[in-house]
């Protein structure tokens, strides 16, 4: 229950800000990959206090943001079916599909429940043999072990009324897609602006940090494995800046209290038992090869897409949304014509406006204050 104040200490933060300012002599664009890091940055205003030469680009690491519209629509279709209990993590309930969200399914009589662990959904399935219980298995490598464990347990217990709607996504292929310039951008001629990465600490705690060595070598970018408390984020930024200024590109671990090079071996074994790599579409970015997990052949019977025959649902993303370019730092949110007009946090067109952690949603709030005439240094505004 400790570990809060220690990593939020304002004096230590001031020292790190000063170190970063001293080290910075040129303009650098640094991407924090994970939505949890974006949240820490926005919540504490870290981006406002960095030297103007440092630009933070909020990466595609918010699972709520990147789950494609078609998958949300599949979830809504299943959740609206009779005798289905649809279980989800809390913040997916408000993500709009093409026409409505899970809250609205519930208001039309659907049985949609917030759970805190996929194992809760397994228990619900055991307790309700007359219902089909579906868990919405989204997220990165971080949530995968528990989701794998849930389906593993369901199979062991012979539960025929439990299934997963899987939309797992993987971080390294997404980073690779961002680095290899044109992928996902509607403006394929521009190259990635990202000079260095803060890798997502909790993903690395599961998969290990070794996965990022090839990216460092191939693209010559510094990658620093970084935690989620404000001081963790600052330390990650400091280390990236020092590397960039020195012209080096190595993989560093700034989160050693949680992350080991090899990762969590039993968790990986659980994942490998249940999932296999597949191509995956990212909301706002498009399809990235080998960037997801799906249930493997042995567990295919637990796949909700097949059980409920929703695999054919294919909802087109808004053609006006430019979140793919925002996610890669190619444009700032307000450079999109739809920003603040037909696209707001209440009526989001795409990934980055969906979650409060998304770049567009965060920017929307800051702009609101700007509009009142208060001096507040935004990014690229």
């Amino acid at each position: 229950m400790r570990y809060l104040d220690e990593f939020r200490d304002p004096e230590l933060a001031a020292r790190l800000f000063a170190d970063i300012a001293r080290a910075t002599t040129r303009e650098w664009a640094i991407m924090e990959v994970c939505g949890g890091q974006t949240h820490a940055i926005i919540r504490n205003g870290i981006d406002q206090l960095l030297p103007p030469a440092i630009e933070l680009i909020h990466g595609p690491g918010c699972p709520v943001c990147v789950t494609p519209l078609a998958v949300i629509d599949k979830a809504l279709a299943i959740a609206g079916m009779p005798d289905v209990v649809f279980c989800s993590f809390g913040d997916m309930l408000r993500v709009p599909g093409s026409e409505h969200d899970l809250f609205q399914v519930r208001s039309h009589g659907g049985d949609v429940r917030v759970v805190y662990s996929p194992l809760d959904a397994v228990r619900i399935a055991e307790d309700n043999p007359g219902k089909q219980v579906v868990f919405f298995a989204i997220g990165f490598e971080t949530t995968a072990p528990a989701n794998a464990m849930a389906v593993f347990q369901a199979r062991q217990r012979g539960l025929t009324n439990f299934s997963l709607l899987v939309s797992h996504v993987l971080v390294p292929p997404a980073m690779e897609a961002i680095m290899s310039s044109s992928n996902g951008s509607s403006n394929g001629s521009r190259t990635s602006r990202v000079d260095g990465f803060l890798a997502a600490g909790h993903v690395c705690s599961v998969m290990g940090s070794w996965q990022y060595e090839p990216l460092v070598e191939r693209y010559g970018v510094p990658i620093v494995v970084t935690g989620f408390e404000p001081l963790d984020v600052l330390e990650g930024i400091r280390r990236v800046v020092i590397q960039l200024e020195a012209g080096t590109a190595t993989l560093e671990n700034a989160y050693p209290r949680v992350v080991q090079a090899a990762g969590n071996i039993p968790a990986q074994a659980m994942i490998n038992d249940v999932f296999e790599v597949c191509d995956r579409t990212w909301r706002g970015i498009g399809e990235i090869a080998g960037s997801g997990w799906r249930l493997n052949e042995r567990y295919r019977a637990f796949d909700a897409e097949e059980r409920f025959d929703v695999a054919a649902i294919d909802s087109p993303e808004s053609t006006r949304c430019r979140s793919g370019e925002v996610l890669q730092g190619l444009i700032t949110p307000h450079e999109c014509e739809a920003f603040g007009r037909e696209c707001t946090p209440r009526t989001p067109l795409g990934a980055t406006m969906v979650s409060s952690e998304g770049a567009c949603a965060a920017y929307y709030q800051y702009r609101r204050l700007d509009a009142t005439g208060v001096e507040l240094r935004g990014r690229g505004g």
Partner: protein
């Protein structure tokens, strides 16, 4: 998709409500959705003109006496939680709504909607707790009603209470009175009730048990008013937490509010639970706390009086009312940066990452 941003400023048609054709759980969350329901559906239907001042309790002016009148319904699950139950909550909540206009509560009504099958012993415990809460608050439950619905149509029981109180001569406390230069006071640590109920409901354990702060606040209010005539606004930050209260005050008075995050007392267990669940303590419900907006020259008098009272011992100044950014609440973070604090949309949802 619509071509322009939705503009509901001048909208008075009671239906449809934005993008919802049915009530969702968020409409009861005390945030934007609740406000929209009140503003766009109830007020027009009741013939109340747009722009009317909305407060925790209504003012009924009888000429010789001014009454504060308020009502609230209690649908909490579980019925019993660490620190209280639905019964004392139903008494304290309405006492507090009445007290937030500076009134001395005098009488309550209690309406019960019982689910067929509810154990009489459970109802007895709840009624006893209500009686005790009313006694310690110095109010009487003077009228009531009981209805029973079929099994499965209620979560055990729901309670509605309404309360009236007398507003002392010369007292004028309401959100629109917040003035530039005023100071924002919080009566103590936040987030206890919301996290206590949530941890019990969802079987989440955070090491030590978190106990609800449910308490009647009219005594504290009376002490504050006795100490100074310059208390401008009082608000009990229940659903939507301190964030919702400050946003509503900023909007009603067309002023900006800026507060220091580090000055807001958040108990360690609440901070841990919020960190774990991805919630913001500033948006979590309280049931025994108040936010006060006070003239700056009266701060010492008011805060000393609060600290002498059992429910205000940890009262602190957390911020100021400013002419900058009217209608907008800004938090100054521990690092010295600033962020906009929004009225939550509906209920806060646990985050995935």
């Amino acid at each position: 998709m619509v071509a322009d941003a939705p503009n509901f400023a001048g909208w008075s048609c009671p239906l449809p409500l934005r993008d919802h054709d049915r009530v969702t759980i968020g409409h009861g969350g005390g945030g934007q959705l609740s406000s929209e329901l009140v503003e766009h559906l109830f007020l027009p239907a009741f013939g109340v003109t747009a722009g009317s001042e909305l407060r925790d309790s209504a003012l009924v002016d009888l000429g010789s006496v001014r009454l504060a009148f308020s009502t609230d319904s209690y649908v909490v699950r579980p019925l019993f939680f660490p620190g209280g139950c639905i019964g004392d909550l139903a008494v304290n909540g309405t006492v507090n709504d009445v007290a937030m206009s500076g009134a001395q509560p005098i009488a309550l009504s209690a309406g019960f909607i019982l689910e067929e099958g509810l154990e009489i012993a459970v109802l007895g415990r709840i009624a006893t707790d209500m009686g005790k809460a009313a006694e310690s608050a110095g109010v009487r439950v003077v009228t009531g009603d009981t209805k029973v619905v079929d099994a499965g149509l209620a979560d055990g029981l729901y309670i509605n209470t309404a309360g009236i109180g007398i507003i002392p001569e010369g007292v004028d406390i309401r959100p629109a009175r917040a003035e530039v230069g005023d100071v924002v006071i919080l009566s103590g640590p936040i987030g206890l009730h919301g996290i206590a109920v949530m941890s019990k409901r969802e079987n989440l354990e955070f090491g030590t048990e978190i106990v609800s702060d449910t308490a009647p606040l009219h005594g504290l209010v009376a002490a504050m008013l006795a100490a100074s005539a310059h208390v401008h606004v009082l608000r009990d930050p229940t659903r939507g937490g301190v964030a919702a209260s400050l946003c509503e005050i900023a909007a009603a008075a067309r002023v900006g509010i800026e507060f220091e995050e580090t000055r807001v007392p958040v108990p360690e267990q609440v901070a841990s639970a919020c960190s774990f669940l991805g919630l913001d303590p500033i948006g979590v419900a309280n049931e025994g706390k108040l936010v006060a907006i006070v003239a700056s020259h009266a701060v010492d008098d008011v805060i000393n009086a609060m600290r002498d009272h059992q429910f205000g011992r940890e009262a602190v100044v957390v911020g100021v009312v400013t002419a900058d950014h009217p209608g907008v609440v800004v938090a100054r973070t521990s690092f010295g940066a600033r962020r906009v604090v929004d009225l939550p949309l509906g209920e806060q949802l646990p985050r995935i990452c």
